[in-house]
């Protein structure tokens, strides 16, 4: 399968939503930079209500009584070829983490990976992560940039309540829980950084294109 973004797949999620997908088998960070710019362009179209990037894809929600879906699809395909990837003007934020807090899976993950806890924490704090997309739950960040050696299948049985602020990894991705909710990802630590506040404008602390670093506040093990 090609992964140069030359074969976008567009599908209708109802009369008034189009999913625009350029994803190949492996997540491509440079395609994602193009997706962010594309989203910004599409938000200015009359009749478009929402544009939300996913992972190497985005969804456009519009009023189908104003904007014909077939015409919009043609417009998306034409506009995409004109969108050139460029590094996002996102912010860089440090997220302080207490690793190995009570209820975390830090020692289990270290054991599973054959690493010392210090080494595991060092590998998790080393990269600058990119906020690829915000979604699923309010303020949840899909972070790209996890060291591939830390990739880990999700837990066989998801936890029903992973606490707000949990710093988690699952598959090849890293994340932070914005609220207490079920998740099958592994918990490495906890942060007090608030990802979401519905009474704040904008409500989400991070947006697609921002970058973050995890910094060690404490290791409890």
């Amino acid at each position: 399968m090609q992964q140069d973004g030359d074969n976008p797949k567009v599908s209708a999620e109802g009369a008034g939503a189009l999913l625009f997908d350029v994803a190949g088998p492996v997540f491509d960070p440079s395609l994602q930079e193009r997706i962010w710019l594309f989203a910004d362009v599409l938000k200015t179209l009359p009749g478009v209500r929402e544009v939300a990037p996913g992972m190497n894809n985005l969804i456009v929600v519009f009023d189908p009584l104003r904007l014909d879906p077939d015409s919009l699809e043609a417009h998306l395909l034409a506009e995409w070829t004109k969108t050139v990837a460029a590094p996002a003007a996102g912010r860089l934020l440090d997220i302080p983490v207490v690793y190995g807090n009570e209820g975390s899976d830090l020692s289990e993950v270290a054991q599973e990976k054959g690493l010392t806890i210090e080494r595991l924490v060092a590998m998790h704090t080393a990269p600058v992560y990119s906020v690829a997309a915000v979604g699923a739950m309010p303020g949840f960040v899909y972070l790209s940039g996890l060291d591939p050696r830390l990739a880990l299948p999700r837990r066989a049985v998801p936890r029903m309540g992973v606490p707000e602020g949990s710093v988690i990894i699952g598959g090849a991705q890293a994340g932070i829980m914005p609220l207490t909710a079920p998740s099958g990802w592994h918990i490495l630590g906890h942060t007090d950084f608030h990802l979401f506040d519905p009474l704040r404008e904008p409500p989400a602390a991070l947006r697609a294109g921002d970058r973050i670093r995890f910094v060690v506040k404490e290791i409890r093990a």
Binding site: G14, A17, A23, V51, P64, P138
Partner: protein, 341 residues
Amino acid sequence: MIEILTTGAANCVQDLGRFGYLDAGVSRSGAMDAPALELANRLVGNEPNAAAIEVAIFPFRMRFDRAGLVAVTGADLPVTLGGIRYPSWWALPVSAGDILELGLPRRGARAYLAIAGGLIVPPVLGSASTDLKSRWGGLEGRGLRRGDRLEAGFAPAALGDLPAGFGLDPETIGRGGADIGEEVPIRVLPGAEYDVFDQAAVDALEAAAWQVSEDANRQGYRLSGPQLTLRQKLELHSHGIMPGTVQVPPSGQPIIQLAEANTCGGYPKIAHVIEADLWRLGQAPVGSRLRFARVDRRQAVAALRAQRVLIDRAAPFAALARKDAANPELLAALSRRDTNS
């Protein structure tokens, strides 16, 4: 002011939904049967998006502290006021002290109760709708409890001089059709992974009667029916999903994502319920059976436009019944009629 006397925790304040924060992961929320909420508001002279009560647990009882106008739409159920029984899709003048009761639906699952002036709750992210999953919006982000008191806004509309109220014939707004025990017809568009499902799955999508399982709420409905399988294993990246998206997790039993669904997902999508039929899902109780029929984009848009026409036609009629002479909608409608004749 109104006071809630009998309720269940699934009954909550809703409007037409929360828009503009999809890229922050915020679910749309809003009424599961949006046309019914909009028409309840229209009957009492409110803006279409005014805050009203979505009732999914019955019986529901409330008391009015002052005179006003109330409308109940959605499910077909007995509405009792002052010992007299009224049908659904009806607007009624109420007096201080009156108790309104909504009984068990004969058909449908959710009723909408609008009060002239609209309910006053602090908007969260631009909407009055309750997000039960995230615990914000509506009344303190939760379902209604006995003893809750809600304030209604100033009602500019005239209340009419019809002591028995007035109503809409559900047939005229596209609510005729299936009776209890019959299947609910649901039109769908093929999903992005439709072609990756095997022939048996694609056939079963339209051939089977899909039962709404016990696992059904404002987030989504899990359906029971034949197991749907893929021709090949698929690994999808997370992508946006909409209310109406029919996902198939590894169990092979489809889930229809609804008002409070997560905004992103990664399961293969076999279909999407068209917007014009989302209300039918909102009115499909646990145990009812859905029958899917595939349509194309053009038909999906046409169905939505037809629904819009029916709703817009009902509004000036309600204004006329209220004798709402100052209502600009009524004046516009009447002048159109003059021009046409």
